[in-house]
Structures are given as C-alpha cells and as structure tokens.
Amino acid sequence: MANATDTVAAAPMPRAASRWNQRKLAPWLFLAPGLFMFAVYVLWPIVQSISLSFYDWNGLYNRDGEFTGRFIGLQNYRELGTDPAFEVSLWNNLKWLVLYMLALPIGLFLSIFLNQTVRGIRLYKSLFFFPFVISQVVVGLIFAWFYAPNFGLFYLLTEWITGDGTAILADPDLVTYGIIAAGLWPQIAYVMILYLTGLNNVAPDQIEAARLDGAKGWKMLWYVVLPQLRPATFIAVIVTVIGALRSFDLVSIMTSGGPFGSSRVLSFYMYEMALGEIGLRMGYGAAIAVVLFAIMMIFISGFIWKMWRDETQR
C-alpha cells in the first residue's frame, strides 16, 4: 500500500513540473529567436555606439588587430556644444519634425476626398498613392531636377513669374524647406492610405445617428469621424515622427548637406563625421548618434507609454 500511495503521489509531480515548464518556459522559447536578433542587432549596437562616443577613434585597427582609439570621456559631447554645424543640424531636424506634421491634415483631407464611390476611384487612389511606392532616392532625384537652376521646372516657373529664377537648393535659407517639401510628397501618400483604411472602419450607424441629430461638415468630422480614426492617427503620427527624424536619403541625394552644410540633419551629419570620406571620426559620429537616439527616445517612450496604458486599461 505504501508503495501504491507513493506511485500515486509521485505521478502528478512530473505532470505539474511539465505544466510549469509549459507555462513559464514556452513563451521564452518562442521569444528566443526574436530576443536574440533584437539583442544582437539593436541592443548591442546601441551599447557600442554609446561607449564609442567616449573615444577619439579614426576607425582603424593596427596590424595586430588592436583598437587604436583613445578614451577622452565627455570631450566629444563638449565639442558638440560649440559646433556650429551641429547646431544647424539640430535646428533643421526640428524644422523637419514640425513641417512633416503637415502630412497629417493633408493626408486626412485627401483620404476624405478620395473616400467616395465614383467610376475609376481605384485608379485615382493608386495615383495618389504612387509617390509612396517609388524609392526615396527617385523622389530626391525628381525634386532635384524640379528645383535645378537653369532648366528645372520650378526654377523656370519662378523666373517666369518674378523675372529672376530661384534655385532653392543653392539658397542656404530655403534649401531645407525644399527638401522637406520633397519628403512630404510620399509621406502624405502614406498618411492618406492609413486614413483610407481607417475610414473603412468608421461605423456607418454612428454617422447616420449623427446625421439625424443634425451634425454635418466640420462638426461631423471633428466629433464623429475623427474620434473613430484615433488608431489611424496614432500610427500616422508615429510613422511621420520617425520619418522626419531619420531623413537621411533625401538630404544625401539632393544636396549632400550643402550649400556649405545648411541642409544637414543629425543623421546626415553623423554619417559625414563617422563614415564619410572626409570625417572618419567614429567617436564624434557616435556622440551625434547618441544625441539623435535621445531625441527619438522622447517620442518612442511616449508611444510605448500610451500603448502600455491602452493595453492595461482594456
């Protein structure tokens, strides 16, 4: 009997252990590949960039494979404080952030405009969506030609209207706005498509109820439609902020940061300093990257906080 109770008592034990394993271990096993990738390709580079920003290093190892950098503490950050090019890049990033937000109202307007059933609407929608499909490099080239002095359409237009052509990309005061306009073109299309899918999910019965109550026009948009578009707006703000902060390709293609650095943004200045032919100051470039990361962190933690709140409230 004693033997029998032993076996009976012993039997559930492994089952409980295995259930514990399933509950606790399985999620981690499923997460492992993702976590591994995240650690190797995201976390480790962040740690490395931050530590590199305390060094003065030209990117070379010597013949024996030894690191040739020199630890200089916060010197790189102190230098950023007095670097006029850094200041220009920071202001330009701010201009990008603010003006890129124009993509939201314009994209919303276009999506409402296109959210109707007429013959051939699919064709019009895809035409409006087209700039988002083509590569940023192509967008940059198209706009560079559009603005080009002497033969660009924009130059010829301003010459025809004012008598003196404006070469946007040669003007240190206008160049950043010219590039932002080029960036807005595909960004508006992106936001538009986000709102179009959002509009599909707007409850028709609520619209009808609002109509019966006499709501129309702005009031209908503001109090009935927009609240239902909140998830779309949230995603649109995120992609627009990130798009504005990582604006590198257009600057690189259209002006290479010029004239004399007036269209630089942080990401491009970082590239110039660390990886460009003329810089090769890895530590200084890393310090710029850390500052850009810190700015992005403000927005990213805001988004994460909001998502966290929404999840726990549910």
Partner: protein, 417 residues
C-alpha cells in the same frame, strides 16, 4: 536542379584547380586598385609587360568600385592585406602610415634613383623622412577657356603667355556685359571651389603659404589670408550664380554651350568638354594668371600612388613591381593610354595633345612647387570645413568675418597651438 548543382561543383573544382596550378609554378603579387575602365586597361597592359619581363611572377589585380574602395581599403588593410594597394599621396596616406598599415619603401626609392627621376613628387611621397608611396601619374589644374565665348563677347583670347590678373578681371566685366559667366563652377561636391581658392592662395602668397595654411600653421584672420579672400572677392561677382546647386559636370555643360568663358578645373575634365562637343579648336588652356608679381609659380597636380602594405605576403616581388611602376617607360605608356601626365621626368607625353603638352610644360616649369590639392594637403576634417567656408564666401561674400572666425576656431581646435 541536380544538373545545375553538378555543373556548379565542376566549375568550382575547375577554378580551384586552375588557381592552385598558378600558385605552384609562379610567385604571386596581389594588388588592390580602384580603376575606371580606361586606367584599368592601361594597368592590365602594364602588368602584362611586367609579367613578360618577369615570367616567374604572377600579378593578381583585384579591382574595386571607386566609391566602395574608400571604405574597403580600411577593412582589407587590417583583415586581408594585399601586397600592393592604390591610394593618394601627401596627407591622404598619413592615417594609414601612422597606423602602421603602409610599409616604408625608402629602399625602393634609394636603389632605383627615384629621388632624381621622381623629383617633383618627393615631398608628397614622404612622411617623417621616409617614403611610403610610388607616384605614377598626375594631372594639371588650370583655366580652360571657350574661344567661342570669347568671340561672342568680342574679347581677344589669351596668347600662350596667358593674361595678367588685372586683364583677366577686366575681361570678366566684358563677359558680364555680354551676358556670359566669366568663370563657371559647380560646387555641389565642394571641391571645385577649393581649386579656385587654392590658385588664388598660391598666386597671392606662394606655395609655402598654401602648405602652411593647409597644415593649420597660419591664422585665417592673418593679413595674408585676408589678402587671398580679397582677390576671391574680386572674382566672386563673375562666378556662375547658383553654383552651389550645380554638379561640376552640369557646369561643364554651361561652359561647352558658351554660356561661360572659363572653368578652373583639372585636366580630367577635357574628356567631358569634348563629349559636350568642344574640339581643340575652340577649347583653350592657360595657367592661372599671376597675382602678386615675383612669386615663384606653383601649380596644383594631384598625384595617384601605389603603396606596399605592412601585411604583404610577398614584399620582395612587390617591390620589383613598384620599381617598374616608377620607371620612365612604364609611366610613359600608362599615361599615354589614360591621357594623364607621368611623374617620372624621363617620361614623354603625346605631343599631339595640346592640353597634355601644355600641362607637362606648366608643371615642369613650376619652380614654386607642386601642390596636391586643398583636400589632399589638409587634414580631411579641416579640408571639409575649409571648403564649406570657400563655398559660403562665393555665395555670401558679406559673411566673410563670420566665415574667417569659424575657420579660425576650427584651426585652434584641430591644431592646438
């Protein structure tokens, strides 16, 4: 699928067989380079000549894309060094020399009498008294002019002796009156304006000033530096508007169409001018006019070089090849194929090419010295900041004080006094 796989295997096996067959009976010299198609063909011919003279040596050239090479060289010099690598003279090779990645080849220079035959390039190949480079080609800079633009504005084209600086500026007034840009440039890539600045600096204060300025030894607010900007200011109103948004090739189009009269450029642009429809009849070349009388004339001639790496597997045979690259006959043939100037004074150039002959004459009589170019003589970051300043001055000459102040701050930071 199976057939493809088998085929690939057979191909791989055949490749391995053939390379090991080479390795068995020949000593291998590896060479990494970044040639465009025409220089690549010339280099392959040079290698064929060398291998014919040294049948026991096999030279294996690995050619990189020009832009990719700048990053690739930083990896392969440490990870997998070839015997020889292409790079540039003067300050551009300094980081690799200081990191101990390029090897000292003073013995190649001494044993082959190169200090005499490559006399014009000794300074740019030397760091701390030792030679680290074999220069094999350079090209002159100067002023290219469009005779059609001269005819359209009714200005007499300069003779072989060139013009004086005062006459040049006076001509610029006439071109402006005729609606023609006197000097064109396209400064998206910034270096074209450094060419103009360098010449003004060389002509105003001479070679030593240029070298000291690039080396951070001279204050940007000194009277000498201000004198250069004063001359720059005289030229500024006559330079193509909006150059900051124009590529140098697009500016070449303005020049070939006769909308601009002069282009301060390197000789490599002649090919672009001729593609644009210019011929030896309407394209002219002159050296940059003298500004301060009596200063020994210095010229710009960026030099391309080959280097022995510290990790070379076969340095002895690599040095043989370096000596061959330095020789007069090899340089004559290579440069004739590419259309550039040999650095060996015993070489000859094609007398039928007026621009090469003019360049050869101009460089061989440049008693003031041969400058590499602003962005090769100056430290990379300093060069870039300087070029930002030159470009800004050409766009906003009224900002001169702010520009000089900023450059001076950069100088004090990069070269602590």
């Amino acid at each position: 699928m199976v057939h493809k796989k088998a085929g690939a295997l057979a191909l791989a096996a055949a490749l391995m067989l053939s390379t090991s067959a080479f390795a068995q009976d020949k000593r291998v010299v590896t060479w990494n380079a970044d040639y465009d198609p025409i220089p690549l063909a010339a280099t392959e011919a040079l290698i064929a000549d060398f291998e014919a003279a040294n049948p026991e040596i096999d030279v294996q050239l690995t050619n990189f894309d020009h832009e990719g090479y700048k990053n690739a060289i930083r990896n392969f010099l440490t990870a997998d060094p070839p015997d020889l690598a292409n790079w540039y003279a003067a300050n551009r090779m300094r980081p690799f020399v200081e990191a101990g990645l390029f090897a000292d080849i003073s013995d190649v220079w001494a044993n082959n009498g190169l200090t005499e035959s490559l006399a014009s390039s000794v300074l740019s190949s030397t760091i701390d008294g030792k030679q680290y480079a074999i220069p094999y080609t350079y090209y002159q800079w100067g002023i290219y002019y469009n005779r059609d633009a001269y005819a359209a504005a009714g200005v007499t084209p300069p003779g072989p002796e060139g013009v004086s600086w005062a006459d040049f500026l006076a001509n610029c007034e006439k071109f402006k009156a005729a609606g023609i840009d006197c000097v064109t440039t396209g400064s998206v890539a910034k270096w074209p304006v450094a060419g103009i600045f360098d010449y003004l600096s060389l002509r105003t204060n001479g070679y030593q000033f240029h070298a000291d300025l690039a080396g951070g030894k001279i204050s940007w607010t000194s009277p000498e530096a201000r004198a250069v900007f004063a001359e720059f200011g005289k030229l500024q109103p006559f330079v193509t508007e909006n150059h900051a948004a124009i590529d140098w090739q697009d500016a070449a189009a303005i020049f070939t169409q006769g909308k601009a009269a002069h282009y301060v450029m390197g000789n490599f642009a002649v090919g672009v001018f001729k593609e644009g429809g210019m011929t030896n009849d309407n394209l002219g070349f002159m050296v940059f006019p003298e500004i301060t009388p009596g200063i020994a004339r210095a010229e710009e001639a960026p030099t391309d070089t080959v280097h022995l790496t510290s990790g070379a597997q076969n340095p002895d045979d690599a040095k043989l090849l370096l000596a061959y690259i330095a020789s007069a006959e090899a340089q004559t043939k290579w440069n004739a194929a590419v259309g550039q100037l040999p650095t060996n004074s015993g070489s000859t150039v094609d007398a039928a090419d007026p621009f090469l002959s003019a360049g050869f004459a101009s460089l061989s009589s440049a008693t003031g010295g041969i400058a590499q170019f602003w962005d090769r003589d100056a430290d990379a970051e300093y060069a870039s900041l300087g070029m930002d300043g030159f470009q800004q001055f050409l766009v906003q000459p009224e900002e001169l004080e702010a520009i000089l102040e900023r450059l001076e701050q950069a100088r004090l930071r990069l070269f602590p006094q």
